[in-house]
Subunit: 366 residues, 2 copies
Amino acid sequence: MSSSLSNRLSHIFSHLNSERLKIVVTRDLGPDVMTILYSESAKYEIVLWPGKNACDRKWLLDNVRDALALIVLVTDRIDAEVLDAAGSQLKVVSTMSVGYEHISVPDLAKRNIRLGYTPDVLTDAVADISIMLALMAGRLAKETTLFVSEGNWPTYSWAPFAFCGSQISATPSSPKRTAGFLGFGRIAQATLRRLLGFGFTHCVYTSNPFSKPSPERDSELLSSFGAPLHSLKRVSLDELASESDVLFVLTPGGDETKGLINEAFLKKMKKTAVLVNSSRGTVVDSDALAKALKEGWIWGAGLDVIAGEPNVAGDHALVREPRCVVLPHIGSATVQTRLDMATLAVQNALAALNDQDMPASVNVTL
Amino acid sequence: MSSSLSNRLSHIFSHLNSERLKIVVTRDLGPDVMTILYSESAKYEIVLWPGKNACDRKWLLDNVRDALALIVLVTDRIDAEVLDAAGSQLKVVSTMSVGYEHISVPDLAKRNIRLGYTPDVLTDAVADISIMLALMAGRLAKETTLFVSEGNWPTYSWAPFAFCGSQISATPSSPKRTAGFLGFGRIAQATLRRLLGFGFTHCVYTSNPFSKPSPERDSELLSSFGAPLHSLKRVSLDELASESDVLFVLTPGGDETKGLINEAFLKKMKKTAVLVNSSRGTVVDSDALAKALKEGWIWGAGLDVIAGEPNVAGDHALVREPRCVVLPHIGSATVQTRLDMATLAVQNALAALNDQDMPASVNVTL
């Protein structure tokens, strides 16, 4: 028996004699999901951070001791200090998020702790917000809603080209539309599926430069979208910039994608094109985008994420730009999706506690 | 030869002797479209209102005299006074709009003047704005963009259910979605086509109560939308209210539809449902809607039109309602669509001048 396993067992047996095994949860996940957890109360003690805001670090360090499972959010930094405070019996960290930048994966690996996360369930919600941002940027939603809320409508004189946007959808007189994707995973494909109803006929994408191009996969994907889509192909960044009518940034963050959307890229885009970022703020160079919008290199932009968030003040150049819609990172924020994410986070934790396959886990081997 | 025809001919011949035949245009339609008109300058004198705002009534009455064709906008009231000022040689009034409430059709009929309008070309632009409004209302776009622009993001503490919207699209755990339409013409059908990519599975609609229900037509329509749509049926107003996840008002205005969306209707809707009006403001009772939003009978609303517009001040109850997005009637406002509308208005006028079939005309027989 390995010493780590024997440590773990002795911890468990000491608990069985004294108190129930502990699941620590760093935020109230709402009545529907907490009910699932509390239904396990006979077996596990549920220890819940009582606050409404992010879990206090000191509370976590104090309460994580002897926990078997830890259910966390993006607001919790899970590092060696937390894991050491927990003790070697900790079996699983389960985060209610698709990203896990807040968790030190090597430190989990060293301790044989499993990691659960919540991909896929947010695909539809993020695809929805991507389409919403494309339409809002194209149709001048910021300028026009402000016009009404500031009380200017009564004095407005209708004119044939006033408030005219760039039309996202194809029309009988303008039947070709090209969707561009920087990153072409599940959310991008769900976004493309939505665009077909808007008459999009072509798709170009760029992918991880270290992955091999696969015309076979492209051809399979193309036929999965059916007749409305005429072509789907992997292209260079230059072609992505110049061919897209709407460009969706749906790629992971990090050093490899940092600032890929820069001045050079934006200058190659169509003047009527719209840029949407609903993945990671760092991919888009904010200064370059502000310049592009001010000087009319592109039509507009819709951002659910922005470099440096949440430290984005009201006078941030992009927040003040009339052609730029900025949302506070609400891509997955729907009641339905957040319930699915919370449920999956709980299911991941419970599966790991029962030594079963987790519905969605990250491989944390060293 | 009828006396009206002989009058007209004598007018025309007198003009041929003196000056070119006249086309009066009440607004600059932009360089692309005016070029089409000016290319007819050898045959016709083009008389254009020189202002940037709505055409002055006195200018119109003075200049319309002896015109053969009159190209107008929704800002021009075309009544007996204008038609009398024109003279009996006037062959056609062509409006750059799908609505023609600003034109006295009986007065045209009495004088055998043809009427051109611009339906269909705006279908896609209005369907786009309908989807945009549904997403904006569902995803709290007003509240969240304001949160950012007012500089609150830096102090925001992420929480699992903060800023959570009502999800428009279907998800694996919630796979049924019903689109409801009050009025089911071309724009409604184009909107439904877009919704299929969002996973909508069911469609209910109510139609002109004087038209006969046709299950055969419904069945044909259903198959035209393909496999993703499971059912499509005409229902009563009560069923429309209670079954719709998103309800689109896309019906003509006027007395027959005035206030159809009232307190009784809104009370029957789902609490998670969203209401979109992109047709005529009069169909929705504004006081009832404000009450419904304030008291949470429905999730949110997106309005491109509103009763009493453009006299809608910044302190209008619906403009101030956080869950209500209000746009200044920009449904057809895209560069592409407005160019198509202006082009069609010119084509209608030229066709009538050449005694040909007009691409899109209203039947004005008495």
